[in-house]
Amino acid sequence: MSLADKYPQEVKKIMAKYPPEQKRSAVMPLLYLAQRDKGFVTKAALEDIARMLDMTTTDVAGIVGFYTLYHDQQAGKYRMQVCTDLPCALRGADKFLEELCGNLGVKVGATTPDGMITVEAVMCLAGCDKAPMFQVQSGEGIAYHENMTMDKTMELVAALRKSGKEVK
């Protein structure tokens, strides 16, 4: 099913943001929409968006490849993206990430066996004064979690696992 059939309201709203002769501008919001279902952009979605915007599939794939928040591979339902950039690192982000990986039993970049959580180390998220901090990216969007302790983080993990199973 194409994006336009599945999300007619959203697609209409996105297209209305840009001048009609500049519809290529809609590629980024449409890719977010395409990620909503599975958390990554499928080949079929690439082709669908390319058709909609008069782009080549390669062009659309080039956008997916360039920007870090688009994914062309399945990962965990929730991507926990921990900032380990300089300001966060000065406030213990490395240790936090290591502990998180230890508690989840995965390495950075890997997904928990239940397919729920992927742990990633990412660049600055503009939360430098609230380290340790991370964002959780899912198909639904992105949420920040700041001034985190390991206890609070593991509570969140439990909550994510619960809601992740419910919406499956």
């Binding site: 501008s25 920007y67 870090t68 688009y70 300089l86 660049m123 503009a126 430098c128 004064d129 920040y144």
Partner: protein
């Protein structure tokens, strides 16, 4: 002094439209649309001495005056990409005082004759974009945006556009490419965005904080604004303070406040009561300032910071105490720039790649002196050769760490002391 930009700290509900309106909200926008010529608005902003808060410090009114009146339509783009490590001021404005920012966007649009404005937010600011979309909808509903505003012929729409994780999109021409649905890679200039911007049309691009100053300048006048700050740096600035301080956060201060006041008075002093070793004055893109008494007592304004061999930039102050080796610090910043280099120009793409490998060798203690020399040479060769500032930024911390803190690149120390 009550806050001018972070006004939510004095007026907690200023993020609500009725509260913002009760506190003079949108009076300035109404005033410019109903009683001023666009040129007059630009003149007031020019006279106020307001300079761009994104880092470059270019005079805002002058930027607006570059927009030609023989090519149409015009666009205003707000740069809400905020991706510099150590910078987190624009998000607080958008989260807590969004209407003052949106009013600034609207006034800028009127001043340059734009009927459409885009706010480019980094993709991670998903929640901030949702907040702004809601606020924009409220403005449309109450006649502050849309067709024929306040009974005049002036119309304006504001849209948000989310990026998707690319530091380079804070560079204004890469940002424009990104709105156009392309990879965020900088354009070759000239032509400059003022003439050939979004969709090839004249475009003004301003930082969020810059625009948030504008409503107050219109309301209270250029002289009032100029009465704050220093001769070359008028007004107030939000300093994002991070790193080894007890109370990191945003502090709105007049230009000319010293580093000592920021770190010790606002920031509550240094972590573990250790001495400050180095200051990064403009996020990861900084030269390192040796934090001696002279530096700590230096006023934070564009000209004074330059005397320390550094730049004020976006005023993202990262404090580093003496528990950390700067070789470790530049390892972090180089990894950042290597990851964020867009790949378009060779000096940056290859230079960042090699700097990363060399600093890794140093980190592992491999032939430290020779590899430090080579790292320095690679950084120097990148300088003045990159297509956009990213490549230059990548080298600043590297060259100044080696020049100003040579002791941190001794074989016995490398790879030892970490944060």
């Amino acid at each position: 002094m009550p806050a001018l930009l972070l006004r939510h700290r004095d007026i907690p509900d200023i993020g609500k439209l009725d509260v913002y309106n009760k506190n003079g909200g949108f009076e300035a926008f109404k005033k410019v649309v109903t009683s001023m010529q666009p040129q007059e608005v630009t003149d007031v902003v020019k006279a106020s001495g307001l300079r761009g808060r994104g880092g470059a410090g270019f005079p805002t009114g002058v930027k607006w005056s570059f927009i030609p009146n023989n090519i149409w339509p015009h666009y205003v783009v707000a740069n809400a990409d905020e991706s510099e490590p150590g910078t987190f001021k624009d998000r607080e404005i958008m989260e807590c005082n969004p209407f003052q920012f949106l009013e600034g966007v609207a006034i800028a649009a009127f001043a340059v004759g734009a009927n459409a404005a885009y706010i480019y937010l980094r993709g991670e600011f998903w929640t901030m974009a949702a907040i702004l979309d809601k606020k924009i909808a409220e403005m449309e509903k109450t006649g502050l945006l849309g067709e024929k505003l306040f009974g005049t012929d002036y119309s304006l729409q504001i849209y948000t556009h989310l990026g998707a994780g690319a530091y380079i999109c804070g560079e204004e021409t890469a940002l424009l490419e990104s709105i156009e649905g392309k990879r965020g890679q900088p354009r070759i200039r000239p032509p400059f965005p003022a003439v050939y911007g979004l969709y090839g049309k004249p475009t003004v691009i301003n930082n969020v904080e810059t625009l948030t100053n504008v409503p107050l300048i219109i309301e209270k006048g250029a002289d009032w604004y100029k009465s704050m700050g220093t001769a070359d740096s008028a007004g107030v600035k939000i300093f994002s303070l991070s790193g080894h301080v007890n109370q990191p956060g945003n502090y709105e201060l007049p230009f000319g406040t010293t580093y000592r006041e920021l770190i010790y008075k606002c920031g509550g002093g240094v972590t573990d009561d250790r001495p400050v070793k180095a200051i990064m004055s403009a996020g990861a893109s900084s030269s390192f300032i040796v934090a001696d008494d002279k530096a700590l007592d230096t006023p934070m304004d564009y000209a004074s910071v330059r005397t320390l061999g550094a730049d004020l930039g976006s005023a993202s102050v990262i404090v580093i105490n003496d528990s950390v080796n700067l070789e470790w610090v530049i390892n972090r910043t180089i990894h950042f720039f290597k990851h964020e280099s867009c790949g378009k120009c060779t000096p940056c793409r290859e230079g960042c790649y090699w700097m990363m490998h060399l600093v890794e060798r140093i980190e592992q203690g491999q032939d430290v002196l020779a590899n430090t020399e080579l790292l320095y040479s690679v950084a120097k060769q990148m300088q003045n050769k990159c297509l956009c500032p990213l490549g230059e930024f990548a080298t600043m911390a590297v060259t100044t760490a080696i020049e100003r803190f040579p002791a941190d690149f001794k074989p016995s120390l490398a790879g030892g002391q970490h944060g």
